[in-house]
Amino acid sequence: MELPLSSLKNGETGVITTTDFKGGALCKARAKKGWKKHFMTEMCIKRLTDLGLTPGTEVKVVKSAPFNGPLEICVRGSTLAIGRGMAHRILVDVKR
């Protein structure tokens, strides 16, 4: 099942399917509701992939900060914090 990284539960693991970060259904639905559009700039994509978030990579969501804060994720053995807006746009394949 393809879901945005932000919708994974704590401790869940997914495999990145796309890093062109157009965002999934959730993101589009929210954009319709008038959510402020966060663009994934080329720079963001490059920084994410440089840190190891390339397509096909396993990502584990460790936990998320409260009040819609950033996500703590585990990629290739390193611990990263990434903003929630960005996590909405990273699509992962999850077994549920």
């Binding site: 720079m43 998320s64 900060a65 804060g69 950033p70 053995g77 390193s78 611990t79 914090a81």
Partner: protein, 643 residues
């Protein structure tokens, strides 16, 4: 061969212990400055070893060699154009895959390389065992296990490095090769690049063209535009084939290779037990407990800094002012004597006694936190709040610093990724009430009006910061960026490195702020000696008396406050001839006065920091905006409070 002069560059990811190695190698023979024309820090140092003179350059901690950050650009330009005799790639042994991703890029730059497998002890604790021999075979360069904090392996690393430079040890660095589709197109581009004169290796240029690297395109374009066009065509082909954008394809291929190599040379077993540092991480980033821990830490630090500062400041003050009678007998108490003492010496003494006792422990604790890894946890917790101002979690660090002093706050804005965010953060930072402002809030309003009012002023200030931050965020063109940050494992800070960082920051602070404070004191003393203060007070009375409802002398106090904000209170006491402000000012006047002092202008040292980081125009703009803001807020407060 001895008595040679070498240059060795240290390169690697952030948080791998690179600066600890740099400190171990160079001791106090260091020079910290900026890369020419950039706000990226450049650390250089010299070592005399076995008759050789070795210059070390500590490159910024980065994850890649693209052009999306100044640090990356500076690093790759340095390696390609300055051609150091050796690049030591410091690698975190417990995070091999991601670190090798960077090593591969250094190999692509075809620079003489040595790999230092640092923090090998931490890796072992995590259950990671690395086969160094195999790593050397695969990478084709010397690989040395090191533990930077204890100095283990540093000498071996250095000896091997010199062997490589002197060609006593032959190296045959790995030539990274990627997937078939990518390789075919890279080869084709290399053929086309034959005869094109560039500083960089042809293969590196070819790959960078496929990565859509704008800098390389700008360099190759004018020499041969056909190559750039072909690269664009190749990119489209690769994108259709792989289904991802071409830069992502290249990055994936590199990671694929890094993953392969990492798996070849490391064996991972289960760690024995959950280390304490992981428990600490869980607690300090906990969604409920993380905040009280953060709050208690920050409050604790400020209490510690203030008690230390108060004590030392009083001690130093007594000492210096004890020298005044001796000074008077030498220089006399006429105008010249007054100018020298009141203008210059008091400026220096003020700087030493008031600023240093607070700044030194402040920087020390800051670097202790940074080195241990706590700062990134704070950024993680505060990300959401900062988002409301269009900033991300990292911006909370300079804001937090500013409660101590705005100057480190302004300089701390460098941690932000884009110029836009740096400026936005700096604007917010200069509105934060620093320690000196707190002295006035608590000493005037807190003492004579009441603590609830003092707290209310803090609250008002925070609201103003928030509202203005939001307005500035909407007004400044550009896209907000989001938090992307590594939270590397907690580690014991390395005391010598922390002390050195404190020392270099302190030096920077003194060089920047002291001349401004001294020059400022001198100018004001001159005005005082020339009896210009009263005319100034009269001149500013339409603003101070009519608009803000304050006593006319506050005009003078406010001018002094530009030097250091706590001077407003000291001047007020001497102008009124009493320290019992209740006799000379109404509570409303105290509140309005404090509000104005909180906002009206960044002090000279802060303006100096702003000029250094952003240039004259932006520093002036921020200053003017804040003067207007202070007048507006003060005027409104006066009218509201006298209804």
């Amino acid at each position: 061969m001895s008595g040679d002069h070498f240059t060795i560059a240290l390169a690697g990811n952030a948080n791998v212990g690179k600066s600890v190695i740099f400190n171990q190698l160079t001791g106090l023979h260091q020079h910290i400055g900026n890369w020419p024309g950039k706000t990226v820090e450049k650390a250089e140092g010299t070592l005399h070893y076995k008759g050789h003179t070795i210059d070390f350059v500590d490159l910024p901690g980065i994850y890649s060699l693209s052009t999306f950050s100044m640090e990356e650009l500076v690093s790759r330009e340095y390696i390609a154009t300055e051609k150091p005799d050796l690049v030591i790639n410091v690698v975190d042994a417990s995070l091999l895959e991601r670190n090798l991703f960077f090593t591969l890029q250094l190999l692509e730059l075809e620079t003489p390389l040595l790999v230092a497998l640092n923090q090998i002890d931490m890796a072992e604790k995590k259950g990671i065992v690395i086969d160094t021999k195999k790593a050397e075979q695969i990478l084709g360069v010397p690989v040395v296990p090191t533990v930077a904090v204890s100095g283990k392996g540093i000498t071996e690393m250095l000896d091997l490095g010199i062997d490589v430079i002197q060609k006593n040890r032959k190296i045959s660095p790995l030539k990274p090769r990627y997937g078939k589709e990518l390789e075919e197109r890279t080869e084709a581009l290399i053929k086309m690049l034959d005869g094109v004169d560039l500083e960089y290796p042809a293969r590196w240029v070819a790959i960078k063209l496929l990565e859509d690297d704008k800098e390389v395109q700008n360099e190759v374009g004018p020499l041969n535009s056909k190559i750039v066009k072909t690269a664009t065509k190749f990119r489209t082909e690769l994108e259709t084939f792989h289904g991802h954008s071409c830069p992502t394809v290249v990055t994936s291929e590199r990671y694929h290779l890094a993953n392969y190599i990492a798996n070849q040379i490391q064996t991972i077993t289960e760690p024995i037990k959950t280390p304490f540092r992981e428990k600490l991480h869980t607690a300090t980033t906990h969604k409920i407990f993380g905040y009280p821990i953060l709050f208690a830490t920050v409050i604790g630090v400020f209490i510690a800094i203030f008690s230390f500062g108060d004590f030392t400041s009083a001690l130093l003050g007594d000492f210096f002012f004890g020298l005044k009678p001796a000074f008077d007998t030498v220089f006399g108490t006429d105008i010249i004597g007054q100018l020298i003492w009141g203008g210059i010496i008091e400026g220096i003494v003020g700087g030493i006694t008031v600023t240093l006792p607070y700044i030194v422990p402040f920087y020390f604790i800051l670097y202790l936190f940074e080195d241990s890894g706590y700062l990134s946890r704070i950024a993680f917790l505060m990300d959401n709040l900062m988002h409301k101002m269009g900033l991300h979690g990292k911006a909370f660090i300079p804001v937090m610093l500013s409660f101590g002093c705005n100057v480190p706050g302004c300089l701390g804005c460098r941690i932000m990724e884009t110029t836009r965010e740096r400026l936005l953060t700096a604007f917010v930072v200069t509105l934060v009430p620093c320690a000196a402002t707190s002295v006035i809030i608590l000493g005037l309003v807190g003492t004579y009006v009441g603590i609830p009012w003092a707290m209310a002023l803090y609250a008002i200030n925070l609201v103003i910061i928030f509202v203005l931050g939001r307005i500035a965020f909407k007004a400044l063109p550009g896209e907000p960026t989001e938090l992307i940050m590594e939270m590397s494992a907690y580690r014991t800070p390395h005391l010598t490195t922390v002390l050195k960082q404190t020392w270099f920051r302190l030096k920077e602070f003194i060089i920047m702020a002291f001349p401004l404070i001294i020059a400022g004191s001198f100018v004001i003393k001159l005005a005082e000696v020339a009896n210009l203060l009263d005319p100034i007070a009269n001149l500013s009375s339409p603003l101070t008396v009519a608009w803000l409802g304050l006593p006319a002398v506050t005009g003078i106090a406010l001018i002094f406050g530009v030097l250091r904000k706590e001077l407003t209170l000291i001047m007020l006491a001497s102008l009124f001839g009493t320290t019992n402000f209740a006799l000379v000012m109404t509570p409303t006047q105290m509140i309005v006065f404090t509000l104005v002092v909180m906002l009206y202008i960044p002090c000279v040292a802060t303006i100096g920091a702003l000029v250094k980081e952003f240039g004259w125009k932006k520093a002036l703009l921020i200053t003017v905006v804040e003067i207007l803001l202070a007048l507006l807020v003060g005027g409104i407060a006066f009218r509201l409070l006298t209804i």
